[in-house]
Amino acid sequence: GAGVSQSPRYKVAKRGQDVALRCDPISGHVSLFWYQQALGQGPEFLTYFQNEAQLDKSGLPSDRFFAERPEGSVSTLKIQRTQQEDSAVYLCASSLVLGQRNQPQHFGDGTRLSIL
């Protein structure tokens, strides 16, 4: 596709359930990022992939959060045993090449996760 595609757009889950959020980056983009955006705040970094390698997961809030990108394209962010504080918008971004600051990160529309 032309842009970063995320699904589902909205997800409602009960506390304790597991959820999986999908990101399909722009074709050919090497770098893929996940960010978490709380209401009224800017996005906060969660994790970063270069191709299939997860190079940084320092922003993941707990070990209930897990991300993968097995073939270097589509990525999945999984949250186990969801808690109410996990409610947020989860944004995926991709960029062409790591380390070149003239290549902006392009964002998807996000998945709005609500935990009841």
Binding site: S31, G40, G42, E44, F45, Y48, A93, R101, F107, R112
Partner: protein
């Protein structure tokens, strides 16, 4: 916590009037990006600034990065309803950074 401070937090402007949003850091910014976000949607890339003193314009939007690379401004001339939304600045805070740090955003409302 946000390492980039944006001001104002929100503003209401009459259609046709100008507006300015500021983004400030206590650290040197290695690449400054401006994005626009509409409620419930993703971030749309507007402009990127890298060098101290750099200024870029696109249509009615102008962004500047100061010489010390610690402050950026976004100026919209003759605002239109299409300019309404949340404006976010994002930056690399370290020379070898690849992850963006964002401000909390500025909500712009344009009144007809």
């Amino acid at each position: 916590s946000q390492e980039l401070e944006q001001s104002p937090q929100s503003l209401i402007v009459q259609e046709g009037k100008n507006l300015t949003i500021n983004c400030t850091s206590s650290k040197t910014l290695y690449g400054l990006y401006w994005y626009k976000q509409k409620y419930g949607e993703g971030l749309i890339f507007l402009m990127m600034l890298q060098k101290g003193g750099e200024e870029k314009s696109h249509e009615k939007i102008t962004a500047k990065l100061d010489e010390k690379k610690q402050q950026s401004s976004l100026h919209i001339t003759a605002s239109q309803p299409s300019h309404a939304g949340i404006y976010l600045c994002g930056a690399f805070l370290r020379s070898n950074d690849y992850k963006l740090s964002f401000g909390a955003g500025t909500t712009v409302t344009v009144r007809a």
